[in-house]
């Protein structure tokens, strides 16, 4: 049985008990960790200072949504990498490597290979056509109302599932790392993300993300370096030691039970690969740079940073096996000091990276890594909130409700209100879902991104024949089929709703829902003989010239 994306999501989010299924409520609160709290407070104060500065410089809509278009390629690549390196990747993948070895690499590669696709097909054209949200691009020559509604719906669904998963994960994680009660953690995360987004807009959100990316990359580099140092920088020695220690022995060097069903494996791959190209908070980042050249370079650097990061998590996971597994002080001991190397790790297997921090760097480095994990969640939820708020104000309000008859100031104010509302809703949902199994939600977010946002965006940019009806119905079909298949799959139908058997046999719907969306767009567009469809096909030429050359594109917004 393949565990799928959901596993990873869970992994991260759910903290330790995750592998045990829905029973995540059993996380034990740890003793209050003062060094970690101190370092986290320092991060918060510093980022609030940045937010204050950003707020003073945020005047126009372009400032608020796109940081004035003045972010450099290097900075943007760090922000993109930061958005992508969630706590799930860091703790979840290193935990997965710890329990299953090679299988962790399946997720690492899947998460990375979406980036070249983003670069070759999407990034530059997106920058040339768009302004603040990907709906700007998808609706470029199509009907504003319909396309903005479907794009904003896709955005909000992705943001909602991602946010719930992150909020619950944050609560659990902070309970473990800092020894703070669940609700405190959820409220702290919610309030801080509101402050970053509502006051500092994209500028603050970007810089929080950049700082966190540097801290996370720095911390992970130090950890992987410390592990390798113990083995004379010879990976072969590390692997040999890990194989000698791990209860599964040599099996950790080969594919294990994670992927046994080919259809499931490929569906997981499709979801990971194309979901990346449909994540609204990532797509927004391409509007913060000055032109297509900068957009292109930022994907290249970001791919390097993210690939480097995944290789580090792999080394950290193996370091956990080699250095922690035979040390009883990192395990809950049973009678006579016996412990299960895979199940009894203090805090659960998602705490491998955190416990390893203690092993290689002592309690202060442990505090540092804990603070970085918290900062990671905070930065990711801020990015999600901004994407959601932009969809509400820029797409739904300005274009659909007010039909373009609004002022920039009014729109930005509405966006800030939307950020506050999204934050409050997120706190509430985090509270409600505390004891629910949210493991499937990150997987669902990726599936919806791959099945609704990505087909609508790709077809409207790349295919002349796309019409409003095609894009609207195709997006809807992708969205509804992805959500329905996940609801009918084992993760929800059996684990959450308590039915005996799953109706949809796979955990990942993308292999089915994404082609369904593309096919619907193609068929409906081809059949669409309306006069509007004629106009839309004729308007492709102008869009094409601009998407390929940037002639007529929104230039840098920086003043």
């Amino acid at each position: 049985m393949i565990r799928t994306l959901s596993f990873l999501g869970a992994a991260l989010l759910a903290g330790p008990a995750l592998a045990a299924g829905p029973d995540m409520g059993a996380v034990q609160q740890q003793a209050t960790n003062w060094p970690a709290i101190g370092m986290f407070l320092f991060f918060v104060l510093f980022t609030l200072g940045i937010t204050y500065k950003a707020a003073k410089g945020t005047k126009s809509a372009a400032d608020f949504y796109a940081a004035g278009g003045g972010i450099s390629a290097g900075t943007n690549s760090l922000a993109i990498a930061g958005d992508y390196m969630s706590a799930a990747s860091f703790l979840g993948i290193s935990g997965l490597v710890y329990t299953s070895g090679f299988d962790g690499l399946i997720y690492s590669t899947g998460f990375l290979v979406g980036w070249p696709i983003v670069l070759f097909l999407i990034a530059e054209r997106l920058r040339n056509l768009g302004k603040f949200t990907f709906a700007d691009v998808a609706s470029f020559r199509l009907d504003q109302t319909s396309i903005r509604i479907i794009s904003a719906t896709g955005t909000l669904v992705v943001v909602a599932f991602y946010l719930i998963a992150q909020m619950v994960g944050a609560g659990k994680l902070i309970q473990l790392l800092f020894g703070l009660p669940y609700l405190y953690a959820v409220v702290i995360v919610g309030v801080l993300m509101i402050v970053y987004v509502a006051f500092g807009g994209m500028k603050a959100t970007t810089w929080v993300q950049v700082i966190k990316a540097c801290l996370l990359l720095g911390g992970a580099t130090f950890m992987a370096g410390a592990v390798l140092l113990k083995y004379g920088f010879n990976p072969e020695a590390l692997f040999a030691s890990a194989v000698a220690t791990h209860p599964k022995g040599d099996a950790i060097m080969a594919p294990g039970g994670l992927v046994s069903n080919p259809v499931e494996a490929i569906s997981l791959g499709v979801g990971l690969m194309f979901g990346t190209a449909g994540l609204p908070h990532i797509l927004m980042r391409f509007f913060t740079v000055s032109d297509a050249q900068a957009a292109r370079k930022s994907v290249f650097y970001a791919t390097g940073l993210i690939g480097y990061f995944y290789i580090l998590t792999f080394i950290i996971g193996f370091g956990g096996i080699a250095l922690l597994m035979s040390d009883p002080s990192y395990f809950k001991l049973g009678p006579a000091g016996a412990f299960d190397k895979l199940k009894d790790m203090l805090g659960g297997t998602n705490m491998v990276a955190v416990n390893l921090a203690n092993a290689v760097g002592g309690p202060y480095f442990l505090g540092f890594i804990s603070a970085v994990a918290f900062a990671t969640i905070l930065a990711v939820v801020a990015g999600l909130t901004l994407a959601g708020a932009s969809a509400v104000s820029h797409d739904l309000y300005a274009q659909v409700i007010a039909r373009g008859r609004t002022t920039e100031k009014h729109e930005v104010n509405l966006s800030k209100i939307a950020a506050v509302v999204i934050g409050i809703v997120a706190i509430y949902l985090g509270y409600v879902f505390e004891n629910q199994n949210v493991a499937f939600m990150v997987g669902l977010a990726f599936s919806v991104a791959a099945s609704c946002n990505f087909p609508v965006l790709a077809m409207s940019i790349l295919w002349r024949g796309t019409t409003t009806w095609g894009a609207l119905l195709g997006g809807l079909v992708g969205l509804i089929s992805a959500v329905t298949m996940v609801v009918l799959s084992k993760a929800v139908w059996v684990a959450t709703l308590g039915h005996a058997a799953a109706i949809f046999p796979y955990d990942n719907p993308a292999l089915f829902s994404m082609p369904l969306a593309f096919a619907t767009i193609w068929i409906v567009s081809t059949l669409d003989k309306s006069r509007r469809a004629e106009r839309e096909r004729a308007a492709f030429e102008a869009q094409f010239v601009r998407s390929e050359t940037g002639i007529g594109a929104e230039g840098a917004h920086a003043h």
């Binding site: 504003q144 040999a240 030429e541 102008a542």
Partner: protein, 124 residues
């Protein structure tokens, strides 16, 4: 790039309405007919799709081996502990990075030069 919103962008409802802006002004026809534009688009599009195809091939090849031939991935590299699968996973990551690098290199030199030539030829 010094070009700001040109009003030819076909987007309804800009903050300040620009009179006379249409979805496809003559400028677009002129660009679309330009041989330099056609060459740029043709080269970049085919290169982009070739690289996309390569990435899909390599990644789904890797996933396919995991699904269908686990024993091949378990084969050891030489007499060591590391396996073929491990090496392949790392190679997939490096390959993705190299492909993006290859594209950016070609875009920075060839495509940007063509785009600049196009803009010169249009007198912009």
């Amino acid at each position: 790039m010094s070009i700001t919103t040109s009003g030819l962008d076909g987007r309804p409802a800009p903050a300040v309405p620009r009179p006379g802006s249409t979805a496809s002004g003559p400028a677009y026809d002129e660009v679309a007919k330009s041989p330099i534009f056609r060459q740029l688009v043709q080269e970049r599009t085919s290169f982009g799709w070739i690289l996309t195809g390569l990435m899909l091939l390599v990644y789904f090849g890797f996933i396919g081996l995991i699904a269908f031939d686990k024993s091949l991935l378990a084969v050891k590299l030489g007499s060591g502990t590391a396996s073929v699968g491990l090496l392949m996973g790392v190679v997939v990551i490096l390959f993705a990075f190299l492909l993006t690098g290859l594209y950016v290199m070609r875009a920075n030199t060839r495509y940007d030069a063509l785009a600049a030539e196009l803009k010169r030829s249009l007198g912009r």
